[in-house]
Amino acid sequence: MTRPERVIGNLNRALHTLLDDDPRAYVIGEDIADPYGGAFKAARGLSDRHPERVISSPISEGGIVGVAAGLALTGNHPVAEMMFSDFAALAFDQLLNFASKSVSMYGRPVPMSMVVRCPTGGNRGYGPTHSQSLQKHFIGIPSLSLYEMSPFHDNADVLTAMLSREQPSMLFEDKTLYTRTMHQSGVVDDLFRYELLDDPSRTARVFPVDCADPDWIILAPGGLTERAVAAMRTLLLEEEITCELLVPSRLYPFTVEPLLATVSRARRICVAEDSAADGTWGEMLAQQLHEHLWRRLDRPVLLLSAQPSVIPTAAHLEHTVLLQTTALRRALSEASQ
C-alpha cells in the first residue's frame, strides 16, 4: 500500500476485515446501515456485506452497550458505536456496573470481549454536548481498557488487540483525525520519523531525524499527534528545543515501566491531552513518572490539557478552550527556561 490512506478509510477497512474474518464479530450502532454508513462513515459498506451482524439500532446508547455486553457474554466480539463519545455517558452504568464488572465479580474470569467506539473531541464546532474528551472519566474501572486511535496504529491491529483482552474496551477516536492520513514506513514528515515500540501500550515514538537525547518527552494520545508534531517542529526550528513524542495506543491500563529507558533520556516530561483540566490521564502518568524518576527530573511533569470549561460552539471561542499547537509550544518553551 503506497498511496496514503485516510484514517477513516483505515478504520472502515479494519471493521470490514473484522467482520470478514471473524464470524463472531458484530457491529452495532445508530444509523450505521448502508447507504448512510454511520455519522462519520466508519461503517460504510458493512451492512450491505454482513446484514445479519451489522445492526442499526434505535437511539439507545445504554441499550446498545447492554446488547453488546450480552453478545460478549455469549462469546461474540461486538463493536458498538456511540455516534458521539459524549453519549457514552448514557452507557456509563452498563460499562461500569455490568460489562466490566462481569469480568471478575463472579469469582472467576468471564471473558467479555467487546469494543465501544467513541468519536471524540472538539475543534470541529459541534458544541458543548458533541465535542468532549471523556477518556478521563473511564480511567480506573477494573477490567475496562481504554485505547485511542492514532495515525500510527493500524486500526485492524488495534481492534484485534482490544478484542483479545477478553474484557470490555473503549476506542476513543479524535474526530479531526478521520480526514487525516495514516503515517507509513516510519516517516512522519521531512523532520520527524517514528517507530512502534513493543511495550504493552504499543507506543509510537516520534523523533527528530537527528536523534540525540531530547530536551523533552511529550506523552500524548493519538488525537494530539498533529498538534504536538507541529509544536515540536517550531520548537526545533525556532528555538532548538528537541522533543520526542510518545503516542500509546492503549491509554489504560498504562504503566510507564517498560518506557522508562525511553523517557529517562530527557529531564523534562510533558503530558498533553484534550480533556478538560483535572482528574486527567496526565495526572495518572505524572504520578507514575514522579515515583520512578524522582530527583532525575528537572521539574514536575508538565500537564497540558483543555481549559476547565465547557467547549463552546463558535470556532473562535472553541479554539481558546482546547489545547492548540501554539499553547503547547508556548508552554514547552516557557518551561524550558
Partner: protein, 326 residues
C-alpha cells in the same frame, strides 16, 4: 438453521418501507392565515434555507438541523402558550426559537458566533437558553428535566405548563419513559410534542420504533392526541381544548404531529430514496400554501426572503461574539 429475517436487523435501508404513505395531507386545503402567522412561517423557512446556504458556502462550521417542512408546528402551537410556559426544544429547534421570539438576528448570530448571539456563541444551533426556552443536544435528556420544571409550575405557578419537543427517534431513549411515568404519577402539566417525521437521521421509524407512539402514551395512562393536519388554524382549533385541560387538570399529554422532513437530517446527508424525498417535497406546506393562496403568499414570501437576506448580511458583518468564561 437461522430463521432471522436479516433485513430487520442490518442491511440496507433503501430497500425498506421508508416510503410508507403519509396520511394524505397533500390534498388538504390550508386555511388562509393572518399575516403574522404566515410571516412567521416564512421567516423560519427562509432562515433555514439561509443557514443551509451559509454552510454550503463554508461560512459556518459544526452542525445544524433545519426544520424545513415542520415550521407549522411551533407556529400553530405557540399561539396556545403564554410567556410563562416553559419550552424545551431539541436539536431541530430553529423554528421553535423563531416562533417564540421572532428574533432571526439573535439566532443567526448564535449560529455564526457573532455579537448579539443569544448565548454568546457558546451554545450554537443546538444549545439555546432564553427566558423560559431551552434546547440541548442530547436526545431524550430534556424530558425528566421538563418534568421537574412541570413539578415546579404545578406548585408555584399553577396553570402553566412545560412543553417538550421530541422526534420519533428519540423514543429510543429510556429517559423518555422515566419521565412519562413520573409525569403521570405526579400529575404534572407536561406537554410532550412529538414531531413524527417518520425518520431519525437516516433510520425510518419502522426500523427504530416497535409499536406506536399512541400506545406508548397509553402505557402510562397518558392521553394522546394525533395531529395529521398541517394547517396552522386547524391545528390550533384541534389543540386548544386539550391544552387547556392539562393546565387545569394537572396531567401530562402527548401530542403527536405526523409531519414531514423536507430537508436533509443535518446538511447534505439525506440518504432517503429519491422517491421519499420527492414525496416529502410534494407534501410541503410551503408549496401547497403557495398554490392555494398565491397572492398573499408571493408578497409575504418575498418580504421574508429579503428580510432574512438582510439579516444575514447584517449579522455576518458583526464582530465575533465575546464570552467571559468563569
Amino acid at each position: 438453521m437461522v430463521s432471522a429475517a436479516p433485513h430487520l436487523i442490518g442491511g440496507s435501508t433503501t430497500a425498506t418501507a421508508i416510503t410508507a404513505p403519509q396520511p394524505r395531507t397533500g390534498a388538504q386545503r390550508l386555511s388562509r392565515l393572518p399575516a403574522e402567522d404566515l410571516d412567521t412561517l416564512l421567516m423560519i423557512r427562509h432562515f433555514e434555507l439561509a443557514v443551509l446556504d451559509l454552510f454550503s458556502q463554508g461560512l459556518v462550521h459544526g452542525t445544524t438541523h433545519t426544520c424545513l417542512g415542520q415550521e407549522y408546528i411551533p407556529v400553530a402551537l405557540y399561539a396556545l402558550l403564554d410567556e410563562g410556559d416553559y419550552v424545551f426544544s431539541n436539536h431541530r429547534g430553529h423554528g421553535h426559537y423563531l416562533a417564540r421570539f421572532r428574533d432571526p438576528h439573535g439566532l443567526l448570530a448564535e449560529i455564526m458566533g457573532r455579537e448579539g448571539a443569544v448565548c454568546h456563541g457558546v451554545g450554537g444551533s443546538q444549545h439555546i437558553y432564553r427566558d423560559r426556552y431551552l434546547s440541548t443536544g442530547v436526545q431524550g435528556e430534556s424530558l425528566p428535566v421538563a418534568a421537574g420544571v412541570a413539578l415546579h409550575l404545578r406548585r408555584a405557578e399553577p396553570g402553566r405548563i412545560a412543553v417538550v419537543h421530541i422526534g420519533d427517534g428519540t423514543w429510543g431513549e429510556g429517559a423518555v419513559y422515566e419521565a412519562l411515568n413520573m409525569a403521570q404519577l405526579w400529575g404534572l402539566p407536561l406537554l410532550v410534542v412529538v414531531e413524527n417525521n417518520r425518520i431519525a437521521q437516516s433510520t425510518p421509524t419502522e426500523r427504530q420504533m416497535a409499536g406506536t407512539i399512541q400506545a406508548r402514551a397509553a402505557a402510562f395512562g397518558i392521553r394522546h392526541h394525533h395531529v395529521t393536519s398541517h394547517d396552522v388554524a386547524a391545528v390550533r382549533r384541534e389543540l386548544s381544548g386539550v391544552i387547556d385541560d392539562i393546565r387545569t387538570q394537572h396531567q401530562p399529554l402527548v401530542v403527536e404531529f405526523v409531519t414531514n422532513r423536507v430537508g436533509p437530517h443535518s446538511k447534505g446527508d439525506d440518504s432517503r430514496p429519491a422517491e421519499a424525498i420527492r414525496h416529502a417535497a410534494a407534501n410541503d406546506w410551503y408549496r401547497r400554501y403557495e398554490k392555494q393562496h398565491p397572492e398573499q403568499f408571493a408578497a409575504a414570501d418575498r418580504s421574508q426572503r429579503l428580510a432574512i437576506a438582510e439579516a444575514v448580511r447584517e449579522v455576518q458583518a458583526r464582530p465575533a461574539s465575546r464570552w467571559e468564561h468563569a
